[in-house]
Amino acid sequence: MTDGVIDNEALEGPALAGGSVRDYVALLKPRVMSLVVFSGFAGMVVAPGHLHPLLALVAVLCIAIASGAAGAINMWYDRDIDALMDRTAGRPIPQGRVPAAEALAFGIVLTIASVALMGLALNWVAAGLLALASAFYIFIYTMWLKRRTPQNIVIGGAAGAFPPMIGWAAATGEVSIASIVLFALIFFWTPPHFWALAIFRRLDYQHAGVPMLPVVAGEAETKRQMLIYTLILLPLATAPYFLGIGGLAYLAGSLVLGGLFVACAIATLRSQDHKPAKRMFAFSILYLFLLFALLIGDHLAT
């Protein structure tokens, strides 16, 4: 009897404390945040005009915090299926380290603070886009599409495509063709990136009842569609050169990277095991990082 009481206290102790600082940082999905921040920074750097360095830092901070806050709200909403998947079962809410309501409050407060700060420090076009990206991720992707359609990450992927457009708007106060092209780059990059993950995590998604394309249409159809998206991305990635926001180094780099991405998709299509899909997932992250690094490098060199 006494031991039973002590065991319960040991379990409830951390939950009553509401988790550690590290758990709250984990709610912000820091690994996802890094690519979001980098693409947002790239949009800001290549945009015409000059931005005070501190204001640029504030803009990047707002994009990072809003992205993390949307991730926390996503973890609050998806806590039931997160507990069922190996990849997400270790997150703070399914582990009982952070109460679900606290995660939701944490996400809402940070979203409001980051959008308000963006509007006051930079401009309300950037703040509006930031709010739109967060709303799209939470309401359109997480709550509406994710559990209903295999096109969840195709349409929902728009949420992750906003950061360079937000960065551009922070610097210029407007939306232009060039910023829409940067948006389109990430939009068309998202399906092959996530489907590569979904192929080698298919059983996880199947177990949780999430209708990812490999679960619903099978791996062969998914691989075929991944190849189509990489083939669209190959010429699309050269567009920044023709719009004057990327130089020759960017043009050459985008063609090489695009060719390698297509090669990854072909290798995945031809293979029966999951190794090429894992390689493609890893390369897709490197691809987007290098593409935006080339844009930044080209801009700083000229």
Binding site: T2, G19, V21, L54, V58, A121
Partner: protein
């Protein structure tokens, strides 16, 4: 010592251990919240200075 026939001799010592852990986590979160709020205030101050100076601050 018994309460309603339940042996309580070991409970205070063990509860103290759990309370220490709860307080340690709470203190960590309080300090992180303090740092975030102070950072926010400093940031808003400098943003206001930059906006009022038309971008020429400092």
């Amino acid at each position: 010592m018994t309460i309603d026939g339940i042996e309580m001799t070991q409970k205070p010592a063990r509860r103290h251990g759990a309370d220490t852990e709860v307080h340690r986590r709470q203190r960590g979160k309080n300090l992180a919240t303090l740092a975030a709020l102070l950072g926010f205030v400093v940031l808003v101050y400098f943003v206001a200075m930059i906006r009022m100076s038309g971008g020429s601050f400092p």
